[in-house]
Symmetry: C2
DNA sequence: CTGAAAGCGCTTACAG
DNA sequence: CTGAAAGCGCTTACAG
């Protein structure tokens, strides 16, 4: 009964076998290394009895594998992140991988730091929802793509694809969903559909706006830049948004929006609240948006239910495929959103 | 220009100093070890120039410190977890600690496994929202408290405190909030307030039910066990709940509930939906519950806004205090909830 | 105050 | 097929 902790060394000495034998057996290479089965059994039995597992750090120091995957989100934000985590968690549990979570708080510099930390601590792979810069405000941080090409890290990019990204990715059908939902507004008679979005360098938002423009064009409506509100900062106080809305609502009736398309759920919520305040009682014009919380009442409302959970799941599956040595060309999954009518008083 | 990666050894040789000097300087012990400041500067300068950081695994193998904190939640559940993470994330960013996240999927055995994994991989501390067994169905897993006392791991327990836990904890004022919100129902004239809860071994739920009973007693009302619905499993199909509700609603009018108290937000949502279906159109009896999503409409509704984000923040602060060597007696923080009226048609 | 040396616990050629 | 040995990259007594 030594008081010292169990190590491969002590275990080998106990059993009178070599340390390498223990190492090989515990790593499942007994057959490959032609360890006599009887010896292998004794080692396994003893290890189980002592509840012994090889020291993680010593192992990692040699193999450079950790069984951990980095998860980087732009924000620890309610629905999006936890829905994705749900999907990711399932897959991780099956692969007993561990999640190292970090949020970049919508800051590219923070994102770069987080990533460096994760890489330094050793992750086998990375799932990242990149955060985007506001247009015209490029960050000073090292470009995302550059940051991991040096370390040969399997990466799955989710939701937003930076320019020039060649690897795996999972996105939703931003363009198609936007186009579809805006078409519905048009079909309901809307002729002057306004759009509210962030002026971010994010492929997802670009696609949504493109879908909006396309839907209008297809209906023979001239897209009107004056109806597009692009917010240039996060502006939680909503004052930028409020100003923009006021100025739109101040137009003569025939220039005022008769429908709204909003590119994100959070923004839709705020827009909705402001419109309610600014335009007083009575039903609001019809609205379509990304997102699907059912907090809206009182007018025609379309939502794009976003497949966040599935995106997480697919991203994780894709990553583990790579980690298990799956080579092959980059995969770019596009998951379908579900367009739905939530409230119709029409 | 060697092609080999930089190590302390190579760095020391380049500079013609000893490896220990490099180690000491890079660990901020230059002064303590009386390294000549000029030497220290050279080392620091070179390290910065090469962007060198000591290998994480080698370091951890020696020091047994990782700068990682384990986070164990019962479920990757929408509001609760992401709100807590928000609070935790802030504090972690300040302390540049890394989060290792795992969810036990409401399963004690899974929780035990997750915990073992995390401990094996090396965490400096742990923040855990324990998952509870259903009453009468004790799990076969090793009791939570036992599992980390062997490894001398700083732990902060959140939301539910297992019996016999002596360490730090952060909870909300379950008893007081329940009592207050049920008192309001009574003040509004409710005389037969039913209660819906899970039959879990969770201190938080116990306190909420106790608050309910106390509020009734204080108002001179006899708590009636027949009005208390205790669900014995998660039962996402809600069939247990539906049966219980049906049987209550089938009573003669003077035995039927005229108010509801529900111990969790999710349960409230389901109860609400079922009541609406089972009792047809018309306003429902007043309801009070933990949670504060504003998806309820059409009758008197009290909510207990839960301070989840603050709970996360405080838990993280408490943990880092311990990690920085803060000794002293266990702290048990009780955070105040905010009782609010959400909809009043009364 | 310094530097050579042992040690952390494992992996993996390599010579037998 | 085995076992002694070097190596992973760092930390830290310990003798000078």
């Amino acid at each position: 009964m030594s008081v010292r902790k169990t190590t491969m060394k002590s275990l080998a000495e106990d059993l009178g076998v070599s340390r390498s034998a223990v190492s090989f057996v515990l790593n499942g290479e007994a057959a490959k290394r032609r360890i006599p089965p009887e010896t292998a059994q004794r080692i396994l039995a003893r290890a189980k009895e002592l509840n012994f597992r090889p020291d993680f750090f010593a192992q990692a120091l040699n193999t450079r594998k950790t069984g951990a995957v980095g998860l980087v989100f732009p924000d620890v934000h309610e629905a999006f992140m936890s829905e994705m985590l749900r999907g990711i968690d399932q897959v991780f549990a099956r692969n007993d991988a561990v999640m190292m979570l970090s949020s970049s708080r919508l800051d590219r510099n923070q994102e770069a730091r987080n990533l460096e930390t994760l890489i330094h601590r050793g992750i086998d792979g990375l799932i990242i929802v990149p955060c985007a810069d506001f247009r015209g405000h490029p960050s000073t941080a090292i470009p995302l793509t550059q940051q991991f090409e040096a370390v040969n890290l399997p990466v799955v990019m989710v939701d937003r694809i930076p320019d020039g990204w060649q690897g795996d990715s999972v996105v939703q059908d931003d363009f198609a969903a936007a186009r579809q939902v805006v078409s519905r507004l048009v079909a309901k008679g809307c002729r002057r559909v306004a759009c509210v979005t962030f002026d971010l360098c994010a492929s997802s938002l670009d696609s949504r706006v493109a879908g909006y423009v396309t839907a209008l064009s297809e209906a023979g409506l001239e897209p009107d830049q004056r109806l597009v509100i692009r917010l240039h900062r996060v502006d939680s106080g909503s004052s930028d948004l409020e100003l923009a809305l006021r100025s739109l609502l101040a137009q003569p009736t025939d220039r005022r929006p008769d429908g709204w398309f909003i590119t994100t759920a959070g923004l839709a919520l705020r827009t909705r609240e402001l419109l309610q305040i600014l335009s007083g009682p009575g039903p609001l014009p019809a609205m379509a948006r990304f997102g699907s919380d059912s907090r809206y009442q009182g007018s025609l409302m379309y939502g794009v239910a976003q497949p966040h959970q599935l995106m997480g799941q697919r991203a994780a599956e894709l990553l583990f495929q790579r980690l298990e040595g799956g080579a092959g060309p980059a995969e770019n999954l596009v998951l379908l959103s579900h367009v739905q009518t939530e409230v119709s008083f029409a």
